[in-house]
């Protein structure tokens, strides 16, 4: 009973944290008021402090949040996208006190077509402290990952969750704090992917869980343009998960989930009305066909695929797919992980940027998403089947002992 209550508490806490992030963004659009923004940030911090200091469990997660926050505050913003795109946007919102300021398309190098939930949250933190610089508003980027980290407590037992956090730190590493948003994208996408399986394929549906899923999908779509692509992959995954589930066909929830993309469509409509287009699609498909027939393109792609973390977790998930044969979750995650990479490669092939330079600047970051996805899904499968795996290991050990005793017995008899 107490465990149930604690699980529900986490659910409500995550709803408050995610709602604060989304409400903050919507208030910039609907009616901007500094006091309202400060109040939302105050609620966010209060909920976070409640989790940090009142609940005694999960000390390792609290330690992680504190460590990463302190590390972030002592780091210069050296990542190009960090200072030139996300923090510059935060500064513009802070200075002009409006989110519509981007429709003038000033400084197009900062990609004015990107969604703005992260800069809006960063500038709100600056409003909360009443000042701006290039260091502390980055806290907003890190705090966006907190709802996911906290929510993951509900799905794994203590030791397993501890290992889950350690592995997440190893995979996402400095992308938690260096003001790139690729770590956030990986975290949200992989966790949503896992949550969809949990809700629609493993029949663990609760209305609170679905509401959290809805909030996460909305946030993911508003992080950056890659998020929009990933949300469409998520919708496809929801459809397939419901389709593969023989007991409960809850197609109506796919319909409800489609409402999560309304805010991003509103933003894209505003951009279209103001003739702000994406840099990558400015020159159409002219370069795409030339690059596609060039052998050098494939050499470059192969070169950038040799990434230790990606290859490690890719081989782990392939290995697990051999242990759990006919496992739809693993097959789907492999398919969607590689499909996402294909989409990113196509965008790079279309882009007017130099192909080699474009990949060298972004591919390592982009690989984090499928890498983390492969980790989360294989970890979840191992966690679900841990008893079976233990039994399997036990049987193997018995077999080994049996064989060794057979080998020994003739010698023993001779002796």
């Amino acid at each position: 009973m107490s465990k149930l209550k604690s699980n529900n508490l986490i659910e409500y806490l995550v709803i408050i944290l995610s709602s604060c992030i989304l409400l903050n963004y919507f208030f910039y659009f609907l009616f901007f008021n500094i006091y309202l923004i400060k109040f939302i940030i105050f609620i966010f911090f209060t909920s976070l402090f409640y989790f940090m200091f009142i609940r005694p469990e999960n000390f390792y997660l609290k330690l992680t949040i504190v460590f990463l926050s302190l590390l972030l505050l002592g780091n210069p913003t050296d990542a190009w996208d960090g200072w030139a795109v996300w923090l510059f946007k935060a500064k513009r919102i802070y200075t002009d006190q409006s989110i519509y300021v981007f429709l003038d398309n000033y400084a197009p190098f900062s990609n004015n077509d990107h969604p703005l939930i992260v800069p809006a949250f960063c500038s709100s933190i600056a409003f909360f402290f009443g000042k701006y610089n290039e260091i502390f508003p980055k806290l907003g980027i890190f705090f966006l990952s907190v709802p996911i980290l906290v929510y993951s407590i509900n799905f794994f037992k203590q030791k397993w969750h501890f290992f889950f956090i350690c592995a997440s730190l190893y995979i996402i590493a400095n992308f938690f704090i260096n003001a790139y948003l690729d770590g956030l994208i990986a975290l949200y996408f992989s966790f949503i992917f896992f949550l969809v399986f949990n809700i629609f394929l493993d029949n663990k549906f609760t209305s609170l869980k679905f509401f959290n899923l809805f909030l996460f999908v909305t946030i993911l779509s508003l992080i950056k343009n890659e998020g929009i692509v990933l949300v469409f992959l998520i919708l496809m995954q929801v459809f397939l998960s419901i389709h593969f589930n023989k007991e409960n066909k809850k197609y109506e929830f796919l319909f409800y989930l489609c409402f999560s993309i309304v805010p991003i469509f509103f933003w894209k409509f505003l951009l279209y009305k103001n003739n702000i287009s994406n840099f990558h699609f400015n020159k159409g498909f002219d370069l795409f066909y030339d690059r596609l027939i060039n052998l050098g393109t494939y050499k470059i792609i192969f070169y950038y695929f040799i990434n230790f973390k990606f290859l490690l977790f890719f081989s782990i998930i392939i290995f697990i797919s051999f242990i759990f044969k006919n496992n739809k979750k693993i097959k789907l995650s492999l398919f969607f992980g590689l499909f996402y990479l294909l989409i990113v490669l196509i965008v790079n092939l279309i882009s007017p940027m130099d192909f080699y330079w474009g990949l060298s600047a972004s591919f390592k970051r982009i690989l984090i998403t499928p890498t983390y996805l492969f980790f989360v899904i294989s970890f979840y499968e191992i966690y679900l089947n841990r008893k079976k795996l233990l039994q399997l290991a036990y049987r193997l050990q018995i077999k080994k002992l049996h064989l060794s005793s057979k080998r020994r017995s003739p010698r023993d008899t001779k002796a």
Partner: protein, 136 residues
């Protein structure tokens, strides 16, 4: 019974020690991939962009004073300076809400850059950059 309980708690704490060791290795792994500086940490909540007291000092900081001292809201870059993309982006970001404008008569240029006949040096008191006014 007590020995059994002790054994159980020992095996539990053994796992937790290993996990904390893993966590600290992950912390160290992230720490090594960053440029953490105590000075930045101490001053992380100061509005430092407009001062030269902050640990990160770069030549683009001079542009702020050049615009402020001469009361200029729109600026441009000389062709030589425009080649340094990093520098011009940093200047644009630092000086916002003062904006870059292609039609502005006020140009930032490198200190050692030669000035055209059409241009006048407005401010030359900085180490790396100077402000000039050119007639279109």
């Amino acid at each position: 019974m007590i020995i059994k309980k002790l054994k159980k708690s020992y095996s539990k704490s053994k796992y937790i020690i290993i996990l904390y060791a893993l966590l600290f290795i992950a912390f160290k792994y992230i720490f090594n991939r960053n440029f953490f500086d105590v000075k930045i940490f101490i001053k992380s909540f100061e509005s430092f962009e407009t001062t030269e007291n902050f640990p990160i000092v770069n030549k683009y900081y001079e542009s702020f004073d050049l615009l402020k001292n001469n009361n200029i809201n729109f600026f441009n870059f000389t062709p030589d300076l425009s080649k340094d993309v990093y520098l011009i982006y940093k200047i644009i970001i630092l000086n916002y809400p003062k904006k870059f404008d292609k039609n502005s008569q006020y140009f930032f240029s490198f200190k050692n850059e030669e000035v055209n006949q059409n241009c006048l040096v407005v401010d030359n008191n900085k180490k790396h950059l100077k402000l000039i006014k050119c007639q279109n």
